[in-house]
Point group: C2
Chain length 438, copies 2
């Protein structure tokens, strides 16, 4: 506990320093990190090689999967991607220091609301060698101090990457405490108790892991639980468009949170749509599970869906299909069984689309496009911290803005509240100001 | 449990309806509530009379304080204030439906981020007869459904007020489930477990109560723990201004969260400032507790501060004074002992002020004005949900905006993600749009 406490305290005191850096200072440091990584690519690959050797043994023992082994590998082209990603974060607009509200309360009494970093952020992330530099860069750009804990499979890669980043930023005049690496799982358990020192936790990983974190800390958690995504094919859908979109949303990459799980099909077009759609799915080895009406139309080309299928997140080549009587039933199903992540309607009817979009309570509601677009990069937010399923602070694909909050600055000339109270009270002018804080 | 669960479910399904109301519909309903309350003022006063009679007995038994008794009283002038407050909420800008980001991802593929209600909000509030109508009006204006639990001392007043509001809104075509009244403490305990149905809890009341709520629910909490406020009197302060501001911040109303608790006085001006300041405090029966240097200057006019005084929230006629060597010591003290609520610097030195404002990590940082200005109404936000000491979502004085989040709307024409991936990938245009969603 004492070790992680001292790391958290060091991060907190460095946070005040890093929160006062200029945009130029931060960008210079980010570019320096990128250069440092590129200069040390051979040593990085060597460190990664140690992780890969351990992972190979673990794969043989059946302790980790082949997929994790492949994700772990850091070669020159992946390092180049990381370098480019850091440079692109440097080129993004500074999310900190923006005036979002300015008002004169009275003569010479001016109020400004200015975006600011959150403070100390704890990030627990998966075993991917590009995760650490991405998270560190996002935190630096948003002037937050960061406590990092990566997957143990990437231990050597992370340790070396961390030392490169720390070295590059220290040489850029950034207090070294701003970035801290946690070594053990026990440190994560301790971290969850440090609500006096840590302002936000960002867990990345499986749903059960994110839920575990949420259930075991008083620190706010910015996370993503499930992505149960629906596509509703309306009676006035262009069926070719619908089939293209459903295929893309299911098979382009079924392992991701914005892949579709359930199709809701309007009764009027079910007999025309289902045979072709199911055939396409079958050709791509997608298992289709249907409601009784779907079964009636498709026979044994489709398995019978159980109650558990409505609201299931498959992350696999499986899709559930339900025939609905009308758009209201579809909306109700999505709001009841979904996870408020990403849901789509396919229709040529403007009014139906508007109804669906207004009434579906999800972070992203999509009309005539694939659910797979719901992603920070595709949404033009630059790098992504994650896709939040929270309903406060940050919702949906979350970029740098999700790592900021704001401060109120009030600049007076001796005003006191007593003068604005009671019988002869002075009145507030509350006149909007077209000025920014600096 | 079943009763509160059915209330929460009813609120959730009403939320979808209320989230689609137009600004005009909401404002019409708000004005109807105001009229209804004014028309029924005699019956309201009568319901309140029942609460007052119970409270009188409780005061005699020593169960509740005189202060609570007085706060409970609802007379015609207080009812008029409530009516005006509701009408002023009707006149505020609609916080929902504002486009805050619009970008073309590609031709005929447009993304909009639009402010939206959070969903179902649970509010637990103190025994003041104006709390229920204020909270209900803020939730209606921001299109949230609301579960309300008021202090039991105001039971009859709240019950009658609730029936007036429900009646007025139902007559305005708003689904009656949108507002629910909880009757017992047990229902609050159950409410804390309903994280599948309730999106946000707003507890109002004592620090210990807010902390209890935070520690006992997985639902996000928008609350205010402590307000430990500092004023730093810099070596280049205008001492007359400083004394006026310190007096105002302490004695105008010491029972509130933005009253000052600790003065930090620069060593250079301590001998000049302290004798006059302490004399003023003594004249207003403010107990002064000083650090060793303060004691050295002031002798027994000042009590000795203990370690517990640094970081104490007094809510009373008590102030602690510490002499500091320089601005850095002051900033460090505020960040270490404060509660990140509201802190001020008094100085004529622009550079010192900027340093203090940048480096003090508080929701409101004030230069040459009283800490007491930190308040939603004074900040021009209209009605206030509360002052948040959270560092995510909403920070500082929180108005209607704190009851909103956003949704992404993506409008396409059949686009799929596969076309934007791989070798011949289409490029995103990511061209900002000067359009709003409607």
């Amino acid at each position: 506990m004492s070790d992680i406490l001292s790391k958290a305290k060091a991060a907190r005191s460095a946070f005040i320093e890093i929160s006062t850096l200029t945009t130029e200072e931060k960008n210079r440091a980010l570019n320096r990190i990128a250069d440092k990584i590129w200069q040390n690519k051979e040593d990085l690959i060597e460190a990664n090689q140690m992780d890969l050797e351990d992972a190979e043994k673990a794969v043989k023992k059946g302790v980790i999967s082949e997929a994790i082994y492949h994700r772990l590998k850091f070669d020159e082209s992946k390092i180049l991607n990381v370098v480019e990603m850091i440079k692109s974060i440097a080129s993004l607009e500074d999310p900190v220091g923006k005036t979002t509200y300015a008002i004169e309360l009275d003569e010479s009494l001016e109020l400004y609301r200015v975006t600011s970093p959150i403070g100390v952020v704890g990030v627990i992330f998966e075993s991917r060698p590009d995760a650490l530099p991405q998270i560190a860069s996002l935190c630096l750009k948003s002037s937050n101090a960061v406590l990092l804990k990566g997957g143990s499979e990437a231990r050597n890669t992370n340790q070396f990457m961390f030392s490169l980043i720390k070295d590059a930023t220290t040489k850029s005049g950034i207090p070294e405490g701003w970035i801290q690496l946690l070594d053990t799982r026990e440190e994560v358990t301790c971290l969850l108790e440090l609500n006096d020192y840590v302002d936000l936790i960002v867990p990345r990983g499986s749903n059960s892991f994110v839920r575990y974190i949420q259930n075991n800390t008083l620190i706010p958690v910015l996370g993503h639980s499930e992505g149960v995504c629906h596509i509703y094919i309306d009676e006035r859908a262009d069926l070719d468009k619908a089939m293209e979109i459903c295929m893309d949303a299911k098979v382009q990459d079924p392992s991701v949170c914005n892949a579709v799980d359930t199709l809701l099909v309007h009764r009027e077009i079910a007999e025309k749509f289902l045979p072709i759609m199911v055939d396409k799915f079958n050709k791509c080895r997608v298992e289709v599970r249907g409601c009784p009406v779907t079964i009636k139309i498709m026979g044994d080309e489709v398995k019978t869906a159980s109650d558990d299928d409505w609201g299931a997140e498959y992350l696999d080549y499986i899709v559930a299909i339900k025939v609905v009587d009308n758009i209201d039933e579809a909306i109700d199903h999505v709001n009841r069984c979904g996870s408020h992540h990403t849901d789509a309607i396919i229709t040529e009817d403007h009014e139906a689309a508007m109804k669906f979009m207004r009434r579906v309570d999800s972070a992203s509601v999509i009309w005539n496009a694939s659910t797979r677009f719901s992603d920070g990069f595709r949404y033009g937010l630059g790098a992504e911290v994650g896709i939040s399923t929270a309903k406060i602070h940050a919702r949906g694909p979350t970029g740098l803005e999700g790592l900021t909050i704001y401060k109120y600055y009030l600049k007076g000339s001796g005003q006191i509240v007593r003068d604005y109270i009671g019988k002869d009270a002075k009145k507030f002018t509350h006149r909007p100001l077209k000025k920014i804080w600096k």
